[in-house]
């Protein structure tokens, strides 16, 4: 019996060793240890042994069973690992194959830039205020110190709807509306569409967008205007971008300034884009003309303020190095999809 046990042990161990798949291991297990297995059969046959031998043989049988089980487990793990490796190897794919089409869309680049501009000023505590695009002459011009037949109106050829109704030529009428209805402190920006009777070309469009800002409070200085625009320029176009103020004239402000920004293309070294000057004219700004404050019912001896305005399309061309303003209104998908 002992001999038989040894023989089973050796043979089954060998079979386990030679098994090639998890499924054959199971067959081996059933053949040896199953209900009708060899070892189980031997155990059953123990009754025929003399009682004094039984414990010893029982021990032996159990030893063989334990050895076989341990071996089975070990081999099963080995085979499972091998089979997993084989499966993984078989699952190799061509990672260079392109995936499905990109699903993302995008905002129009002008609105990407406008949104960024708005973010910067909202972050500095400005409220966004909206106003009508078809506007009274009174708000678009008169309250901004541009009376009828003033030559300053020539600078902005305006579309008329009626004698006293225009397509706003600037977003400043929003400022006039705010000044006539609110009390300082005022800190607003007014982004939006404006209209001027210019034929479309590489730098002009009869419809474009502006963003203007207005601050009215006690003790506001021109230095505060410069500081604000410096911060804007830095956030908009990056570190190292500075502003340069040049004297100018706008009926709405006094003193007035044209504001140049460091050419982002050459970082001020001078290049083709800035015509070698290192500066690009981007903004108009100034201290709100006390006449305007008074016309809008704000005490100009107590309050002062600054205002600034800029073209969003121009900023977009600068930011993305777009050579022609027409691109922005052609809506060519080959252009638009570059922004997704």
């Amino acid at each position: 019996m002992e001999k038989m046990l040894r023989e089973i042990r050796e043979r089954v161990l060998k079979n386990i060793e030679e098994a090639k798949a998890s499924s054959s291991l199971e067959q081996i297990r059933v053949g040896a240890l199953g209900k009708k297995g060899e070892l189980t059969g031997l155990l059953r046959g123990m009754g025929k042994l003399p009682p004094e031998e039984r414990p010893k043989m029982g021990q032996l049988v159990n030893d063989v069973r334990a050895a076989l089980e341990a071996k089975l487990e070990e081999r099963a793990a080995e085979l499972a690992e091998r089979e997993k490796q084989a499966r993984l190897a078989a699952e190799t794919i061509d990672v260079t194959l392109p995936g499905p089409e990109r699903g993302a869309g995008s905002l129009h680049p002008m609105n990407i830039v406008l949104s960024k501009m708005v973010d910067i000023f909202v972050g500095m505590g400005y409220e966004v205020v909206d106003g009508p695009e078809v506007e009274y002459d009174h708000y678009n011009f008169e309250l901004l110190n541009v009376p009828k037949n003033h030559p300053a109106r020539d600078a902005q050829d305006t579309f008329y709807v009626e004698d006293n109704i225009v397509l706003r030529s600037q977003t400043s009428p929003v400022q006039a509306r705010v000044m006539t209805t609110r009390k300082p402190p005022i800190r607003i920006i007014s982004p939006g569409r404006v209209y001027r009777a210019d034929e479309a070309d590489a730098t002009h469009s009869p419809v474009f967008h502006q963003m203007e800002g207005l601050v009215i409070d006690e003790n506001i200085t021109m230095g505060d205007l410069k500081g604000t625009l410096d911060e804007f320029a830095r956030q908009m176009l990056g570190q190292g971008i500075q502003t340069r103020f040049r004297p100018s004239f706008f009926p709405f402000t006094e003193p007035s300034a044209e504001v140049d920004l460091t050419c982002a293309n050459c970082k001020g070294e001078g290049c083709r884009m800035c015509k070698g000057t290192g500066w690009i004219e981007v903004l108009g700004a100034g201290m709100v003309n006390p006449k305007v404050l008074e016309m809008c019912g704000i005490d100009s001896t107590k309050y002062s303020g600054f205002a600034f305005g800029m073209g969003v399309e121009r900023m977009t061309l600068l930011k993305y190095n777009i050579p022609n303003l027409r691109y922005l209104y052609e809506n060519d998908l080959r252009f638009l999809t570059q922004y997704r």
């Binding site: 869309g105 995008s106 695009e133 800190r187 569409r193 419809v207 506001i220 021109m222 201290m287 080959r334």
Partner: protein, 797 residues
């Protein structure tokens, strides 16, 4: 305004290059467009002396000339001009010269060597009048005894630096050489020296013996000055004057006309010269035009005038448009013998309106529009007479006419040093301010520590308050002194207004769904609205219309975004972009009921989709998902405008309020927009959607009890909407319904024509218990009953 540097330097010392000077001016507020030299259009053209001139043996019109160009030996030049002859001084372009027409190279002409070219006026692009006889036929003859080899630019007075100033609207005084010299003197801290004006009068009698002036409209003609010149000798003006005029961009004509132009450029006062003999009864009347009065201006154009227009007339007819352009009748001609010089101040607005109405804009009208100082009118007139003396082209009759009934009171401003510093954010000492202002000819005294007493000179029409003083101080002190500070003020919350924020959320949702934003003009062609085939009384046919559009294509404000979108789609298809999903979020304009009221501006959204794999449900889903993003569920019905496909359009509404319309564009409309493929469009009324937005309060608790799924298939008539039935299922199953999905639609002979079977998977679940079979069956019965009563649905066998 173009100004020759030489002319400026007569009145102020400028000891730097024109470019450096220009940048100093720019940084103090006088714009400069650029600096260029006169005569830059050519080089290497010298005075030549034609030593000999013989006919070319192989040509019937060419000549072979030996020309002394200042070199050791004369050079041979072949010339075809009929007026070339020996003993003549000419303008000779040498080998390698650049002319406006191209480069000159030595070569052979019909076998004869030619080392250059003899030039005509047009070949050098110099105008007749710059030099006598330039305008004649053939090559230029130089009459002066100039050494051969001399650069012709010296002879013609070319080569000076011309600064092209861009004068701001508030500084009309700088539209003159004197004004700019004065401004330059302040900027450079140099002296401005104006010529002493002294007129030498001669001849018998006084002004009144020769002419009479009647000003009938003081308001529009605040000042009128006139003088008479007799014994006029018309001829060319001297070289220096021609050179200055040419440099300033004005064509020299003759001495009298040149004087009026010269004075306008130098003083900023437009002038006019009348041939006095052509003025009826030698009387000038300044009056409003009679209605329908005719006038032919100097440029030969005939105008019909109205009563608002100020004219210069004689006793009978209007002879000129005041301050705009003179008339043909009293024009200066070669035999003009006596002249009346006019120098006046005309009112801005009237001048501007008249010039606009008639479409005539001149140097003169441009100046009056911006403002001409009435104080210095007489000075300018005398400057003209002084030039008549200098040019010896006539006798200035003693006395002048001067009508100036309401002299302008001088402006005085009291300003506070402290307030100015606070405004500009720069600490400028009071004494420095005083000095700066005095340099600008603003007579200023610092009283005590803080008060500046300023007397504004008459020519500064723009200054009337402390803010103006602050600007003068700052621009001269230097804008580069402005510090960069952030305001020391109360903190305020920054935010987007609700509408903008909502629009941004809409856009973000659409971008997330793969759409691209487009931008279109707000004005379109009325024809585009026609193309939509809207019903006769459709409100979208009523537009806000521009009075002065750029063209018909951009003449009406949009009442719908659809036409622009279709145009955008067509444009993209033309360029080969055959697939796309686009949106535009913009305003549409509804005209006001009453004239004088503003139109209503609504926020609209238009979506389009076209190309492979795109169908009705693509745009439908975009809209449904967009609405879902805002917590809005809309009911949908098959309806919509006629520009949609009759069987593929839908209207989405919430509680009876229309939110969106969508569908496939009708092929007729598509083809009217040159679109040959199917296009799907959706329009969303964002103003209607915005108030429906449901804030997201929080989550539903996750289920603890199991769900049950039941499938049903019902047979209905073809016309019953599968989606409509889903709504009915939702309603009938009510509380325990978790989800309903459509999973099959079947049509077949067994069902009969016009019938379909629709199958739904219905999931039921209760939050607080496991549903019992009885409950489930009861719910399913309710569902079936509802489908049966509402749609005649029968359970499919």
């Amino acid at each position: 305004m173009k100004v020759p540097m030489k002319w400026l330097k007569e009145y102020v010392d400028i000891n730097m290059s024109a470019e450096d000077y220009a940048s100093r001016m720019v940084m103090t507020g006088t714009g400069v467009e650029g600096v260029e030299k006169t005569g830059a259009q050519f080089d290497k053209v010298v005075v030549g002396y034609v030593v000999s001139c013989v006919d070319h043996p192989n040509s019937d019109h060419l000549h072979i000339c030996m020309v002394d160009v200042g070199e050791e030996e004369p050079i041979q030049i072949v010339c075809g001009a009929p007026n070339v002859h020996a003993g003549m001084r000419v303008a000779a372009a040498l080998d390698g010269a650049h002319l406006p027409g191209g480069k000159i190279k030595k070569g052979k002409m019909r076998g004869e060597v030619s080392m250059g070219m003899l030039c005509s006026g047009p070949e050098l692009d110099v105008p007749a009048g710059l030099y006598p006889h330039i305008g004649d036929e053939g090559i230029i003859e130089i009459f002066e005894d100039v050494k051969p080899g001399t650069d012709v630019k010296e002879v013609f007075g070319l080569g000076d630096d011309i600064v092209d100033f861009e004068i701001l609207a508030n500084r009309p005084d700088c539209l003159s050489v004197w004004g700019l010299a004065r401004e330059s003197s302040a900027v450079l801290d140099e002296h401005f020296v104006m010529p002493e004006i002294a007129v030498e009068e001669a001849g018998k009698g006084t002004f009144d013996d020769y002419a009479k002036v009647e000003v009938l409209d003081d308001e529009n003609c605040p000042r009128y000055c006139a003088r008479v010149i007799t014994d006029v000798k018309i001829g060319p003006s001297p070289k220096w004057m021609r050179e200055y005029l040419y440099g300033a961009g004005v064509r020299p004509i003759n001495n009298i006309v040149d004087i009026t132009n010269f004075v306008m450029l130098e003083t900023g006062h437009p002038m006019h010269a009348f041939d006095l003999s052509k003025v009826k009864e030698q009387t000038i009347v300044v009056r409003r035009a009679k209605p329908g009065e005719h006038l032919v201006t100097l440029d030969g154009k005939e105008h019909v005038l109205d009563e608002s227009m100020l004219v210069i007339a004689d006793k009978e007819n209007a002879t000129g448009l005041a301050g705009i352009m003179g008339g043909e009748e009293s024009e200066i001609v070669d035999d003009t013998a006596s002249v009346l010089f006019e120098c006046a101040a005309f009112e801005r607005a009237n001048n501007r309106i008249t010039a606009r109405k008639l479409g005539v804009r001149t140097e003169s009208s441009g100046r009056f529009e911006k403002g001409v100082c009435p104080e210095t009118t007489m000075e300018a007139l005398d400057r003209a007479c002084m030039l008549v003396n200098m040019l010896e082209c006539g006798k200035v009759v003693p006395g002048a006419y001067d009508h100036y009934p309401n002299p302008k009171a001088p402006v005085e401003i009291e300003a506070s040093v402290k307030r100015i510093c606070r405004r500009i954010g720069v600490d400028v000492p009071g004494e420095t301010m005083e000095d700066i202002l005095n340099r600008l000819y603003i007579d200023t005294t610092l009283v005590g520590e803080d008060t500046l007493h300023c007397e504004i000179p008459a020519f500064r029409l723009d200054m009337d308050g402390e803010a103006d003083i602050s600007e003068e101080v700052l621009r001269m002190y230097g804008y580069d002194h402005i510090p960069s500070t952030l305001m020391n003020a109360v903190t305020m919350p920054g935010f987007r207004d609700e509408k903008t924020a909502f629009a941004d959320r809409v856009k973000a949702a659409l971008v997330g769904m793969g759409l691209f934003e487009v931008l279109n003009y707000s004005f379109i062609s009325p024809k585009w609205i026609e193309k939509l085939n809207l019903a006769e009384g459709d409100p979208r046919r009523k537009t806000v219309t521009l009075r002065n559009p750029l063209g018909e294509d951009t003449s009406v404000m949009r009442t719908t975004l659809v036409p622009s979108m279709l145009n955008t789609v067509a444009g993209n298809m033309n360029r080969g972009n055959m697939d796309g999903k686009l949106f535009e979020l913009s305003r549409v304009f509804v005209p006001a009921e009453k004239a004088g009221d503003l139109p209503t501006e609504k926020t609209a959204l238009c979506v389009s989709a076209f190309g492979e794999g795109v169908d009705f449900y693509t745009v439908k889903n975009i809209v449904v998902w967009l609405l879902a993003k805002f917590g809005v569920t809309a009911s949908i019905e098959a309806a919509g405008d006629a520009y949609y496909h009759p069987g593929r359009k839908a209207v989405l509404s919430v509680d009876g309020v229309k939110i969106a319309t969508l569908g496939e564009i009708h092929p007729d409309v598509a083809s009217a927009f040159d679109i040959a493929k199917r296009v799907y469009v959706a329009e969303v009324d964002l103003d209607a959607l915005m108030p429906l937005e449901k804030p997201f309060y929080g989550i539903k608790p996750l289920p603890k009890f199991p769900a049950v799924s039941r499938d049903i298939a019902v047979v209905v008539d073809e016309c019953v909407g599968a989606g409509t039935m889903m709504d009915a299922i939702r309603k009938a199953a009510a509380k325990t319904l978790e989800d309903v999905k459509l999973f099959d639609i079947y049509r077949g002979d067994k069902l009969g024509r016009g019938r379909k079977s629709v199958a739904y998977a219905i999931t039921l679940r209760a939050p607080d218990r496991t549903l019992t079979d009885e409950e489930i069956n009861a719910t399913m019965d309710k569902v079936l009953k509802a489908l049966n009563t509402q749609f005649g649905a029968e359970l499919r066998a």
